[in-house]
């Protein structure tokens, strides 16, 4: 990919600075919907209830539907943005007055896209984005500490992409996904000294994973567009992560204080199908379904280098595939301002019997709105706000060892976001 080579040098440096800034600061994404998936990859889409597969016209097509890249109107399109996820989960232990609440720090998913039209038919680009992530911070001594005290999972994808407009009706596009990530978690272990509670800290970086993102865009006429996109499953493989146990000295004869572990986490495939209708010159409406192949997340397995017979664990998750329903619209108020709104319903893929507070994900209703402001012909600023509410739900985690952790959960999430596009 030679995307950057032709870019005006000052623009390139400007974008690169922003990108570095984003990579260093905007990294963690809080779980807010659909397991540990994060679809905040463009603020136009976020503002429209996260519809996206049938939309075209900006560089975020790299994520939502690579086929749209060949339909971009400018020679060069760049987009960078991020969101702040303010997410909290409240918990009430079953049959108890005990309540707890997460104290999550702000989640910060980000994206960067650059695309160029090589000729009328061919578009190429590259995207860097964070489609999965999870963070939950409970108190160290909370009731579910043996399941999780805190977790931060970060994944980011780099996706070089080629898109080809076959004819006025049909465009296709595909990108190679190169994924990397890291995870760190703390949980309580049942070995405490008189004064120090037992804990294990596990962290590591995943090896690089590969997948693809391929889409089709149908544009039968000026009014309609139909998009289909498939993003393949990836597996984050963590080998030789550090597992450090804070345990009493006599227990270290049984459990080494410093250990290594392997684990795998599937990042499920997505099949998106959507349609957009230009109802009038100013009004665009869109509807979409996303089928997420969460069924692949069967169990979370930890394998340890030392004392595997004692420490290895297979923790059932038993997720189910999920179907997400979305609608959204945008209204062009004038040359400078576009307004947007949307809504969606995202049923949880989690299993009611194996629901863990590490990913306290519930059936979620999302409402969103946003605005794009174009101060100049080339520059636009996108703002979005997404509000998520869940129903209060009773969930259990039935550990294979027989213990049970049941309670009511409820989550509220607020996600303001900002992005900048520069097209010329």
């Amino acid at each position: 990919m030679n995307t950057f080579a032709t870019i005006n040098q000052s623009n390139y440096l400007f974008m690169r600075r922003i990108l570095l800034l984003l990579v260093s600061i905007f990294f963690v994404a809080s779980t807010f919907a659909g397991g540990y998936q994060v679809r905040l990859q463009g603020h136009r889409q976020t503002a429209m209830g996260l519809v996206g597969v049938s939309l075209h016209g900006d560089a975020s097509n790299l994520f939502y539907n690579p086929a749209g890249v060949s339909l971009l109107k400018n020679k060069y399109s760049f987009m960078v943005g991020g969101s702040g996820i303010f997410n909290n989960t409240a918990f009430n232990l079953q049959n108890s007055v005990y309540q707890a609440e997460t104290d999550n720090s702000m989640g910060t998913p980000f994206f960067f896209y650059g695309a160029t039209q090589v000729n009328e038919k061919l578009g190429v680009g590259v995207g860097v984005y964070t489609p999965y992530g999870s963070s939950a911070t409970w108190d160290d001594d909370w009731a579910g500490a043996h399941l999780i005290q805190n977790i931060a999972m970060k994944v980011f994808f780099i996706q070089p992409t080629v898109s080809y407009k076959i004819n006025d009706l049909l465009s296709i596009g595909a990108g190679l996904v190169i994924a990397t990530g890291s995870v760190e978690l703390n949980r309580a272990v049942p070995y405490s000294s008189a004064t120090t509670p037992g804990q294990v800290n596990m962290k590591g970086n995943s090896s690089t994973g590969y997948g693809f993102n391929a889409g089709i865009m149908l544009t039968p006429n000026e009014k309609w567009s139909i998009g289909i996109d498939y993003r393949s499953e990836l597996t984050m493989t963590l080998e030789g992560g550090d597992a450090d146990f804070t345990i009493p000295s006599s227990v270290t004869a049984l459990i080494p204080a410093a250990n290594k572990f392997d684990a795998e986490l599937p990042l499920p495939a997505n099949l998106d199908l959507g349609v957009a209708y230009q109802a009038s010159e100013k009004l665009l409406l869109s509807a979409e379904i996303n089928y997420v192949f969460w069924g692949v997340y069967d169990s979370l397995i930890f394998e340890f280098e030392q004392k595997p017979e004692l420490l290895n664990s297979s923790n059932p998750r038993e997720y189910s595939d999920a179907m997400i329903y979305r609608i959204g619209g945008e209204y062009i108020l004038n040359d400078m301002i576009t307004l947007r709104a949307g809504a969606y319903y995202d049923p949880t893929p989690t299993n009611s019997d194996y629901f863990t507070p590490e990913t306290p994900n519930l059936d979620t209703y999302g409402l969103s709105c946003g605005i794009t402001i174009r101060p100049t012909e080339h520059l636009s600023i996108d703002l979005s706000y997404l509000h998520l509410e869940t129903q209060q739900s009773t969930k259990s985690y039935n550990d294979p060892d027989g213990t049970n952790f049941t309670g009511e959960y409820k989550t509220r999430t607020m996600i303001p976001g900002i992005g900048i596009s520069y097209n010329f």
């Binding site: 702040g84 303010f86 909290n88 989960t89 409240a90 918990f91 009430n92 232990l93 079953q94 049959n95 108890s96 007055v97 005990y98 309540q99 609440e101 009731a143 049942p190 070995y191 405490s192 000294s193 008189a194 004064t195 037992g198 345990i247 009493p248 000295s249 006599s250 227990v251 004869a253 049984l254 301002i337 605005i371 402001i373 703002l383 706000y385 509410e389 869940t390 209060q392 027989g402 213990t403 049970n404 952790f405 009511e408 409820k410 989550t411 509220r412 607020m414 303001p416």
Partner: protein, 441 residues
């Protein structure tokens, strides 16, 4: 202008109620008033566990758990006479993965643990480790650290104060009373070699006075009865590890030597008109124990005699305990001693139940519940409670007092009794919230 408004909205939204709120759940006080709760009792009430009274144990005492549950139904502040650290008076026990039984925790207890904190009182938790029923009425019970009860000394309002006076002075609207276990336990733990069982008259008088005093202001309350000692691992565990007849003789020379050594005693036994002689053969034999009810002072053990948790098994292995030397009285509770205790427990429990009725109080049948735990086990929120030592979840490393989870179970039996008697809807506690036996050296 419009843009500025929208930006402002974004900023406002970021500060807007970010926290989800769970819907309310039902909990109600019924006919009871939990505004001021005072707990009366002994070590079980104080939160004694793993051989000592220390901070985290006190935090997980059943009165503390009850008070936490009462909060949602109008309960007020609950103050306990907290130790300053995790080592109390230096008797705490811990597990050690390389050792078969508990070990001393070590650590250096804060000397402040022995200082009076009465000026921070009064304390809602009036549980005093070591207290028997009548001790609660005794003046000077906490006179000083050496001559009084050291635990009561810590928070007695004055050197001459009685526990009951200090409890009654708080004018409780609700109280719990779990007293009586030490009236038999001090004797039982000593293997019947020291102390004595409180006579029923004294016990009855003391409990009557306690309940009468605490209800003079029409306070509501809950009374618990006491368990059979056979529900407690301190008395039952060792026999599962070392049966009464596990003196195994493999050589005829050993058999002859023992029979020879006990021949003069056997002659004396026969001469006194008994046929309870001591005899040994190849294979398994019953151990020799001290029995002070016999004029000649020893006999071979029966199935019904109980070894105590403190039995020095290494002395049996290496120093002829149970064969050449009779196992001392203090390590064995004979069937006669058990019968004496059983009668007392039965009588006490009749008194406790009758008095609870007389004063219109709720009654928690801990005797039945702990008997159930020791036979079939009790399951609660996924935890199975039995009276097995170390692995039974209910009892702590001292074999007598409970674990945090065990106290949580007891709390639920109190709550059940309170809800039934006073039409209250107090939520149960989840034992998973409290520590089990997870403390290691």
């Amino acid at each position: 202008m419009k843009i500025r408004n929208i930006l402002l909205l974004f900023v406002l939204v970021s500060f807007f109620a970010c926290k989800p709120e769970l819907d309310d759940f039902t909990t109600s006080n019924g006919e009871a008033d939990f505004t001021k709760y005072v707990a009366i009792g002994n070590s079980l009430t104080a939160g004694y566990t793993d051989g000592d009274l220390f901070k985290s144990g006190q935090e997980n005492s059943y009165p503390s758990m009850l008070a936490y549950q009462f909060e949602a139904a109008g309960g007020g502040e609950f103050k306990q006479p907290m130790m300053l650290d995790e080592f109390g008076f230096g008797k705490r026990l811990l597990l050690d993965v390389s050792k078969p039984g508990p070990v001393a925790a070590g650590g250096t207890p804060d000397p402040g643990n022995g200082a009076s904190i009465a000026d921070q009182g009064p304390f809602n938790n009036m549980g005093v480790p070591g207290a028997k029923s009548f001790h609660l009425l005794a003046p000077n019970y906490g006179i000083d650290l050496e001559n009084g009860n050291p635990y009561f000394y810590r928070f007695a309002s004055s050197p001459g104060a009685t526990v009951l006076e200090d409890a009654a002075a708080q004018d409780a609207t609700f109280f719990s009373c779990w007293i009586g276990a030490n009236d038999v336990l001090t004797y039982a733990i000593a293997g019947g070699a020291a102390d004595s069982v409180t006579d029923i008259g004294t016990f009855s008088y003391a409990v009557d006075l306690i309940l009468q005093t605490m209800t003079t202001n029409d306070a509501k309350g809950v009374v618990a009865n006491i368990p059979e000692i056979t529900s407690i691992p301190y008395f039952t565990f060792m026999n599962t590890q070392l049966p009464y007849n596990y003196l195994v003789l493999t050589e005829q020379a050993q058999v002859d030597a023992l029979n020879g050594a006990y021949a003069p005693l056997n002659q004396a036994i026969i001469a006194s008109g008994s046929n309870d002689t001591l005899s040994f053969a190849l294979g398994q034999n019953a151990f020799v124990i001290v029995d002070k009810s016999l004029t000649w002072g020893m006999r071979q053990m029966d199935e019904d005699d109980l070894f105590l948790l403190t039995l020095p098994t290494d002395s049996i292995q290496n120093h002829g305990y149970g064969s050449q030397v009779a196992i001392p009285d203090s390590y064995v509770l004979t069937s006669n001693e058990q019968a004496e205790i059983h009668v007392a427990v039965t009588d006490y429990n009749i008194v406790l139940k009758n008095l609870a009725n007389t004063y219109g109080l709720a009654f928690a049948d801990m005797h039945a519940k702990l008997a159930e735990a020791s036979t079939t086990g009790i399951e609660w929120d996924g935890i199975t409670f039995t009276s097995t030592f170390i692995y039974g979840n209910a009892f702590s490393l001292d074999g007598v007092h409970m674990t945090g989870q065990g106290y949580a179970l007891a709390t639920n039996f109190f709550i059940d009794a309170i809800n039934t008697k006073y039409n209250a809807q107090i939520k149960f506690v989840n034992p998973n919230l409290y520590p089990g036996l997870y403390y290691y050296q």
